[in-house]
Each structure stands twice: as structure tokens, then as C-alpha cells.
Subunit: 226 residues, 2 copies
């Protein structure tokens, strides 16, 4: 019987989109398990441009990939994410109750109520292309689903960043929608809006006001600041 770890949200990929999703979901009490094939966090930022200056991260006239990742990790740290590095997701399955099971290539398993694909398309075998209308929304492994695609990425609703599969979200370079530009700053927005939808679902569909970090005592306490 393989190991299995439970969390609220499984995040596939550990680049900037994933790291900011940990933080956003953490603000609302949702704990994440992040799985990445690399041996550390950072995705393209640490593989392609660890020392190369990036000029368009808002508020940073210049920053390199390594420093950005280090800062995003520090921002997410209060929410104590679980990281599994050096493992690929071999398959994702949802059961009839909507719970997700990820099988990893080391034989372990991970469970979550929601899945956020933040893999930049680099991580695992995508299912065949198909339209939302064709999608079989029953239970089963992701490789059997005709997820809607566009421009080499997965089509999402730009208000929620959910794919054509309920409970499966995609953010960062893994997602496509009208106007999509593959910018790190857009991935942050995508993570924030996916979080609001996951939070609404987790509350049984009940919509609650956004809580602002400048004003919410609950959030300040969850960050260890009082």
C-alpha cells in the first residue's frame, strides 16, 4: 500500500504561479501540497534565468529569477506548504465525490479536494485535446479526458481559472484564455482569482467578501503578525 498524503489543494508545478497560489490559498485557510519534477522550487525562473535580470515584475525595477523565487517562498512560508520535489505526476484521478488522487512516479500518492495545474506544461502527460462539449465529466484518470485546449495550453474560464473539468484549475503558462500573455505578473492574478473560486466551493458555494491584508485581523494573525 503506497504512502498517501492529504491536503486541501494539490498544486502541480512549483514555479512563481504555484508559490503565489500557496500564499493566496493560505490566506483563506487552505493548505497546499506542491509537487514538482525538479529538485527545488522555482520552475523556469531557476532553470532558465536564475541570474538573468527580469525588469517587468511589478515593484522591482530589476530582479533575477532566484531572488524572486526566494521572496515568494518566504511569502508562502507561514502557510507551511508540503513540498514533494523530484517527482512527476503520473496520473490524476477524481472520484465520484470529487476528491482528487495524484499518483507520483515514486509510487506515492497525494490526495486533495482541488487541483491547480501550474506546471508550465512541463510536467506531465496531458490528455488528448477536445472541446468542453465532448468532455466526459465522470470519474477516471486525467489521461482519458478530452480537456479543452488552445495555443498549446489548457482553456480556462478567465473569471475562475477553472478548466472544462470541475475542480481542476490551471494558472500560469499552463492556461489559455482570450488576451492571455505569458507573464509572471499575470500568473499572480490567475492564482488570486482561482483562490476566490476554490474558497467559494470549499464554503459550499457561498460567496464571502474578499478579505484585505491591510484590514483583516484574521489574516494578520494567520501570517504570525499582530
Amino acid at each position: 500500500m503506497p504512502d498517501s498524503q492529504d491536503s486541501d489543494v494539490l498544486i502541480v508545478g512549483a514555479g512563481p504561479a504555484a508559490l503565489f497560489a500557496i500564499f493566496q490559498l493560505g490566506l483563506y485557510g487552505l493548505r497546499c501540497h506542491v509537487i514538482d519534477g525538479l529538485d527545488r522550487a522555482g520552475g523556469q525562473c531557476v532553470v532558465l534565468y536564475p541570474d538573468k535580470p527580469i525588469y517587468d515584475v511589478p515593484g522591482f525595477p530589476e530582479i533575477n529569477g532566484s531572488e524572486l523565487i526566494e521572496r515568494l517562498l518566504r511569502q508562502a512560508a507561514p502557510f507551511e506548504p508540503l513540498f514533494t520535489f523530484g517527482c512527476a505526476v503520473v496520473d490524476l484521478t477524481s472520484d465520484a465525490g470529487g476528491e482528487w488522487l495524484a499518483r507520483l512516479d515514486d509510487g506515492s500518492q497525494a490526495r486533495g479536494d482541488y487541483v491547480v495545474l501550474a506546471s508550465g506544461l512541463g510536467l506531465f502527460n496531458l490528455p488528448p485535446d477536445g472541446s468542453a462539449a465532448d468532455a466526459d465529466l465522470g470519474a477516471g484518470p486525467i489521461s482519458d479526458w478530452p480537456l479543452e485546449r488552445s495555443r498549446g495550453a489548457i482553456v480556462v474560464d478567465p473569471g475562475t481559472f477553472e478548466t472544462s473539468r470541475p475542480g481542476l484549475f490551471a494558472i500560469g503558462d499552463a492556461c489559455d484564455y482570450p488576451g492571455k500573455v505569458k507573464l509572471i505578473l499575470s500568473a499572480f492574478h490567475e492564482a488570486a482569482l482561482a483562490t476566490q473560486e476554490i474558497r467559494r466551493r470549499a464554503a459550499g458555494g457561498k460567496k464571502s467578501p474578499v478579505e484585505y491584508t491591510t484590514a483583516s485581523r484574521r489574516i494578520r494573525e494567520s501570517l504570525g503578525r499582530t
Copy 2:
């Protein structure tokens, strides 16, 4: 005859959305004129929480409003925006050729090819509510247009951030679309996507690939880095 200043893009408001729009538009050679009723840049950040910690700006585990604004001003500085502070926009008019004229309350005027409303709704008198279908798309002052509204803000296309009025964009707290959350980080995304649409229009509708700051020599040179 009043003073009149020309620029590519008129930006109404000088908060974080506006400052990052200057930077994004500057990356593509578009020069901005920013007009704000306050005596300095920053909008809500400097009025409501100059010294209060904000925890959800990506990459900043903690930052206050003043420091964020100072950093965004530094990031935008290479593109030499024109700032007009302490002036309200009394009216905006577009002529038949699509050029925009803003009349300010000090009697001066400003002209631009496009307008970005980034005013957080605080700055000037909005036109009456109305649906896009009702909108009179002819020339004339903004106060005569029934701009489509929702939740107290102006409805935009979330792929371009254009309002129901061609050439008039809205970002930050001034805009609404499905899923909209009033977060500073979303305003950055909105500024980036509006920029891509303005850039496409400025090129006569021709779409060009996004240029990445990590890879584009032209952008590095425009930022004074080589």
C-alpha cells in the same frame, strides 16, 4: 487659448495601476501623460495606507503603500512620463478621428490617442449608466455616453480592458468584469493586457509577439541597461 500637451496615452489617476501602466506602455515605446487630483502619485496607497503593511503584493512578504509607490515610480521613470498633479479631469471628448481631449479644471487641456481610466472611481464625474447596446459611439464628451457599468465600476472586456467606448480603457478599481477582485496585483495584470491591446491598435491592428524583458535587447536598451 489654453495650454495643450500631447502624448500617446492619457492616464487618469496615478495609483499603482496607473504607474505600472506607464511602465508597460513604455516597454512598447508609448509615452504617457498621467493626471491626478492629488498633489502626488500613489492614489489610495498614499492616502489610505502609506505606513500600513500590505502582505499580498507578490514577492513582498510585507511592504507599505509609500514604499510600493516609490518602487513603481522608479520602475516607470526610464519612460519619462508627464505628470499633472492637483488637477481634476472635467471632461473627456473624442473626435471623429478617435483622438482624445481631456479638459482639466485649471483650464489646461491634454491630448492622447488612447485613454486609460485608472482613477479608482475617485476622480471625475462618470457618465450615466447604460448598456453597450445603447451606447452612442459618436464623438462628444464622456458625460454624454451611457458607459456600461456593474458593481459601481465600468464594465470592460477582460481580454483587453477596453470599455464599451472604443479607445477608452479602464483598469484597477475603476473596472469590473466576471471574477474581478479589487487587488493591487490584479491591477498590474489589467495594465499589462490593456497595453497589449493599445500596442496592437497603435500598429494598425497588427498583432506582434509579446517581448520578454529577460530576452529583448530593444527593451533593455529602452530601460538604459545594456
